[in-house]
């Protein structure tokens, strides 16, 4: 049906001799609106877009959001302008019961539309990939073997999620574990995010870092804090009853302040560090050799005490 229609002279082409040039009018309405919107987004709104510029990945995300907003605004304004124009100009007038013109399609319009959207889409895909690479994974969790990573030796911080609190281990400082997240300024940080029970998600909002905490998985995310100050850490994956209360506050401090903090905390927590399992990228909280031995000795089995069922061959 539409093959014949497509071949017909394009009726949507501008300037049918009798009527006004609707295409030009819509374009002239759209152009200033789009330009103004883009300028506002880029200059006025852009610097304040979340998540801010506190870290390398946050700045990168802000840039991405800005670029996409600049691209999206003209598209959106075009569609809305067109709709508004159509609804006003091409509405049914009183007493008019005629049908509209029988336009079945216009191959030129359709082809240009597909071309334009394809170009935008491909640009976005390439842009996103480039951004992902130059921002070293853009603060998103990259799993145990990251493919985009910064050079040098980043500060290792392990984030352990458990219902409903994050704790942090600093393996380069004796592996102490604490509930405080303190980071140095101007230093790449590698977050090793893991969980002891269910899936959580470590979201350091102002740092632009989000990485799911999966049990048994070492999920690595990189960022480089650029400014000192406080930031909020929230869990962004529903993890049960107190998911909403699973938040705390981190600090970015100067390198020397960080060293001082780390050294003093290490000493302060030395007693508890001794009873922690040795630092590892993941933990299996069901393997506690002493306890399992004690329980086996006491004859407690099955659902009452063993973490593994008794038939299990690997049961210690």
């Amino acid at each position: 049906m539409s093959a014949a229609a497509d071949a017909a002279p394009p009726p949507a082409a501008p300037a049918a001799p009798a009527g006004p040039n609707h295409g030009l009018r819509i374009f002239l309405l759209w152009l200033p609106l789009a330009v103004i919107a883009d300028l506002v987004i880029w200059i006025v709104w852009g610097p304040h877009l979340p998540p801010g510029t506190m870290s390398s990945s946050a700045a990168n995300q802000q840039f991405d959001i800005k670029v996409m907003a600049v691209l999206a605004a003209p598209v959106m304004i075009f569609v809305l302008t067109y709709f508004g124009y159509a609804l006003i100009v091409w509405r049914q007038r009183d007493g008019d019961t005629e049908d509209g013109p029988a336009l079945h399609g216009n191959s030129r319009v359709q082809a240009s539309w597909i071309t334009i959207t394809s170009v935008i889409v491909l640009f976005l895909a390439v842009f996103g990939t480039v951004e992902l690479k130059i921002a070293n994974g853009a603060g998103a969790g990259e799993g145990p073997s990251p493919i985009w990573k910064p050079g040098g030796a980043p500060l290792q911080v392990q984030v352990i999620g458990q219902q409903w609190k994050f704790t942090y281990r600093y393996p380069q400082f004796g592996g102490f574990e604490t509930t405080q997240l303190v980071l140095p300024e101007g230093q790449w940080v590698a977050f090793h995010v893991t969980s002891l029970d269910v899936i959580h998600s470590f979201w350091a909002y102002q740092l632009g870092v989000k990485a799911d905490a999966n049990p048994g998985v070492d999920n690595v995310a990189y960022t480089k804090p650029e400014h000192t100050g406080g930031f909020v850490v929230r869990c962004s994956e529903l993890c049960g009853l107190w998911h909403g209360a699973m938040f705390d506050y981190g600090r970015v401090v100067s390198m020397s302040a960080f060293r001082t903090w780390a050294a003093s905390t290490r000493v302060q927590l030395a007693a508890v560090t001794r009873i922690l399992p040795p630092y590892a990228t993941t933990y299996d909280p069901t393997v506690v050799p002493q306890i399992n031995k004690a329980m086996a000795k006491a004859g407690i089995g099955g659902a009452n005490g063993y973490y593994y069922p008794p038939q299990d061959p690997v049961q210690p």
Partner: protein, 657 residues
């Protein structure tokens, strides 16, 4: 709902086959909803006992009320009892024992009056109405949960509900909406209208179609009963270690969602085969209404994606009951396995929710623009493109999960590619508007609202496809606003357009247009006023599903909550309009009020039993508005021999077995 819209069914002239006649039983012994309830109760009791019995022989199960086996088996046997009570197994049992099966048109379930809506009816028009009323009830129930959620979010500190209730509400709202609303359009409009639109007197598999409906109340009630078991704390996604860790409320979730998966497989199965095999002579693929295209695309997604969901839910159940270790990494499983399975279903699912909306609005705008649909092939290609691509994007839900970082550029690309076919839907709309004569009827207003909302929803989706931007947006209210714009703003607005457009057809009753306009404007304004600020809330760092939030976001959250209540009020206006028009006022609408060329409008409203007096012969496409000399859409009384010529073999030729 008192809806008796059809004249009493005329008994076929031949009467019943002699062998198929059954002695009339008293009404309370005839299979209907009350026997179904009885069957469900018996089934639950038996299943619960069986679960405890089996569990006591199975050393690894915790033997107590924290055991899940009795609950799961209770639910499953309750479902079996429910459908057995409805009489679903009667015909298969007759077949198994070699007794004749009654001809479905003359089945007792085709009885007249209200009672047939409470039975396992094989009439696709009855099933359509059952679905329509059912879906509105499910939608309103889930909507009330949303009201409760917003009530709790009025304050960051003061709590109306306890946090466990809040998490239950979030899970109930999300799951009920996502699982039941997947049939929101396919159920009522698909089942009712697709056969009529393709010029068929019947559907391919009426038993499967009817079963698909009767599983939905079972799924709804099972999901609802989760509240009695303490609810489930993991939202609609049911991510694995949490759903394994949770209490028996999680069993309700897994059984109900799996059951609904089966229901949508069955519903889609019937629609696909009907569209392929039961088109009237002359109903070529190039004349298929856009709505039928969208139903076909949706059904393909349903039939192919939902089995994976059923598999995932089944694995949750086995992990919880017989202690398999699909999702326990210590024992060789993986929580990523669930995420992959779930989203392999879950992303097609969101297109199951979006495509019917595209179909409805594409069907409606040519009628009210009085113009042919612009780029018919483009629109169909758009829907097929969305269908195909939707199977290749699921990992964009897992950009932060640590899964396959090397695949991210690929999934970013496929996700962005899907905006090309989606964009075609807009191209079609804009082309159709070009120099049109737009009539602002209530269905048209809702269709326009859908285009406006889905534009915002779609464009915010592009933001989410970009991995760096997604890092901030994922798991926040931004995502929440995005998919409410596509589903509520897209699907529900289109559904409302469909109700106002087709209800006169389906029930022969006019819906009040003035209240309809009030409904539209309140719903449109308050919908946007509810969800537009949530983009900002999300970007400001509020994660989804929290019940405590930063105190500086209270003003905007209060604004959203109050808008949400007004939105609920707008839905209430709709319900009142619907009930008033269909139950009390009952103003007849018999003709073709929209001057539509759709084949469904060429028959009486509501369509007579069998839809058409004779099999129609379709002569032209449904959108030939303003085409001088266009033939009528169909010949409703074709001369003898035309239909016979349309099928390959005359009935004398033996079809190859």
């Amino acid at each position: 709902m008192a809806i008796d819209i059809q004249p009493e069914k005329v008994k076929g002239p031949g009467g019943r086959e002699p062998g198929a006649s059954r002695p009339a039983r008293p009404w309370w012994l005839r299979p209907a909803i009350h026997t179904a309830v009885a069957g469900a109760v018996i089934g639950y009791v038996v299943g619960h006992w069986l679960g405890n019995f089996l569990g006591s022989n199975y050393q690894q199960l915790p033997l107590s009320d924290s055991s899940d086996l009795p609950i799961v088996l209770g639910y499953l046997l309750a479902v079996v009892g429910w459908i057995a009570g409805l009489g679903v197994f009667n015909d298969p049992l007759r077949q198994m024992t070699g007794r004749p099966v009654p001809v479905e048109e003359e089945d007792a379930s085709a009885a007249a009056g209200l009672a047939r809506y409470f039975r396992y009816s094989l009439d696709h028009k009855v099933v359509g109405i059952q679905y329509l009323v059912g879906m509105i009830i499910y939608f309103c129930t889930a909507g009330l949960f949303a009201m409760a959620i917003r009530a709790e979010l009025l304050s960051p500190a003061y709590h109306i509900f306890s946090s466990s209730t809040y998490v239950e509400l979030v899970g109930e709202h999300g799951t009920m909406m996502m699982m039941l609303m997947s049939s929101l359009v396919v159920g009522p409009f698909g089942n009712y209208l697709v056969p009529i639109m393709i010029g068929s007197k019947r559907v391919a598999f009426p038993r499967i179609e009817a079963l698909s409906f009767w599983l939905t109340p079972a799924a709804f009630l099972i999901l609802f009963s989760s509240l009695m078991l303490g609810g489930f704390p993991f939202g609609w996604t049911g991510y694995a270690p949490l759903s394994i860790q949770a209490t028996q409320g999680a069993d309700s979730y897994a059984v109900a969602f799996g059951l609904m998966g089966i229901s949508i497989i069955l519903a889609g199965f019937n629609i696909i085969v009907t569209v392929i095999c039961y088109r009237a002579p002359g109903m070529r693929w190039s004349r298929l209404p856009m709505f039928v295209w969208s139903m076909l695309a949706t059904s393909v997604l349903m039939v192919l994606a939902a089995p994976v969901l059923v598999g995932g839910m089944y694995m949750i159940i086995t992990d919880r009951t017989v202690q398999t270790a699909f999702f326990a990494d210590q024992l060789g499983g993986s929580s990523y396995l669930y995420q992959n399975l779930f989203w392999f279903f879950g992303h097609p699912e969101v297109y199951i929710l979006a495509l019917p909306g595209f179909g409805i609005v594409s069907e409606i705008i040519p009628v009210f623009c009085r113009k042919p649909l612009f780029g018919y092939k483009t629109a169909a290609a758009g829907m097929i493109g969305v269908t195909v691509l939707s199977f290749f994007v699921w990992q964009h839900h897992l950009f932060d999960s640590g899964l396959n970082p090397d695949m991210r550029p690929l999934f970013m690309l496929t996700t962005e590619l899907i905006s090309i076919p989606t964009g075609l839907i807009y191209l079609v709309a804009m082309g159709t508007f070009w120099k049109a004569k737009i009539r602002f009827t209530v269905p048209m207003l809702f269709a326009l609202g859908m285009y406006f909302n889905f534009l915002i929803g779609g464009i915010s989706g592009v933001f989410l496809s970009d991995v760096p931007a997604d890092t901030t947006e994922h798991g926040s209210f931004f995502v929440m606003a995005h998919f409410h714009y596509t589903i509520m703003g897209g699907l529900i607005f289109a559904f409302m357009a469909g109700v106002y457009y087709w209800l006169p057809k389906m029930m022969g009753i006019k819906l009040n247009q003035t209240i309809g306009k009030i409904h539209f404007w309140t719903m449109f304004i308050f919908f946007n006023s509810t969800f537009l600020p949530l983009f900002a809330v999300g970007l400001a760092g509020q994660p989804r599903r929290v019940f405590e939030y930063a105190s500086n976001l209270q003003t905007i959250n209060d604004w959203v909550s109050i808008s949400a209540f007004c939105l609920g009020g707008s839905i209430l206006i709709f319900v009142i309009n619907f009930v008033w028009s269909t139950v009390i006022a009952r103003e007849r609408e018999e003709g073709n009020p929209w001057q539509s060329r759709g084949l469904e409008w060429q028959v009486a409203s509501p369509p007579p039993p069998g839809n058409f007096a004779r099999i129609p012969v379709v002569l032209s496409g449904p959108y030939e508005y303003g085409t001088p000399g266009a033939p009528p859409v169909a010949d409703l009384n074709p001369p003898a021999g035309v239909v016979a010529a349309a099928f390959t073999g005359a009935p004398t030729a033996a079809a190859e077995a």
